[in-house]
Symmetry: C2
Subunit: 188 residues, 2 copies
Amino acid sequence: MPFHDLLKNRRSIRDFQQKDVPLGIIKEIIKDSCLAPSASNGQPCNFIVIQNREMMKRISDECKKNLLDDFKKSPGAFSERYETILKDETFNIFYNAPSVIYVVGSSDINSIDVDCALAVSYLMFSAANRGLGACWIGFGGNIRDSKIREEIGLPDNYSIITPLIIGYPQSIPAPLERKEPQILKIIS
Amino acid sequence: MPFHDLLKNRRSIRDFQQKDVPLGIIKEIIKDSCLAPSASNGQPCNFIVIQNREMMKRISDECKKNLLDDFKKSPGAFSERYETILKDETFNIFYNAPSVIYVVGSSDINSIDVDCALAVSYLMFSAANRGLGACWIGFGGNIRDSKIREEIGLPDNYSIITPLIIGYPQSIPAPLERKEPQILKIIS
């Protein structure tokens, strides 16, 4: 797809067909994301692929529990809308997507957040370019149970930048409104 | 350009023609970057455009000075290669690019680093799609002089995520080698 069309048409997708994404395609998308630039070409991004719905449900429950604990400890620090969603027992943070790619990396690397965010942007574009939908799921970073962290192969000193859900879109939402670009100053 | 070609052909560019980039094009690229997704659709990225070579030189000198101070305070924390480059008086951290876009945002926003990194990825693709070259300049985040921060319009509580240099490429480097994708685990 021409880049300009991809740019205009990419959406954050949270409504998926119940059709699996072949692992080979997930691997191609991950390979594309490895072309993202990184600080000093460190290429520090690591990936965990989850296509098992039971594991996704366990992770979703774990993250919801931890986030609701956080809400209790710091009421007012989060939006009430989120609290309502998280209390809904039928809500799965992965929106029943067939695939999740966790993007993770060593917490010892100063640039890990931005390096991985650049790679996630590549994952999103590569997915959209193949007719797939994706969404950054911020809630999914809240895995604290050491057993689950071990089961998904997350090393102790690693941070989760985000999980990205991927699947074939069931519906594609209208574009969200955008503010005018916030240019603070032009020095010419 | 088809996205797949853009993906393969985008490079980090540090060698530019001495041809200015019209401000209108810089503004279009910034507008494209505002289509990047952001946490809770917060759209927190702000931009500062610098096309004045004297200001770029002052910022380059300021960042080099601060980084060399850091090297002195924590010898061994940085690569020696960088120290050598920074001690070179002829070295300009912006590689004599005709334009710099600073991507900045409020430090009060938890997701500011990743939100802005996603936007930078859009800036890079949008620039490459127009035949322009760009590069994330990590050194450029080290502006500590309050006078310069004020002159470029950077609010007190704002962080610099990065400056991105933009110009017409003089030469395009060969692709850097990439590691195989680091997939820690596949749970199917």
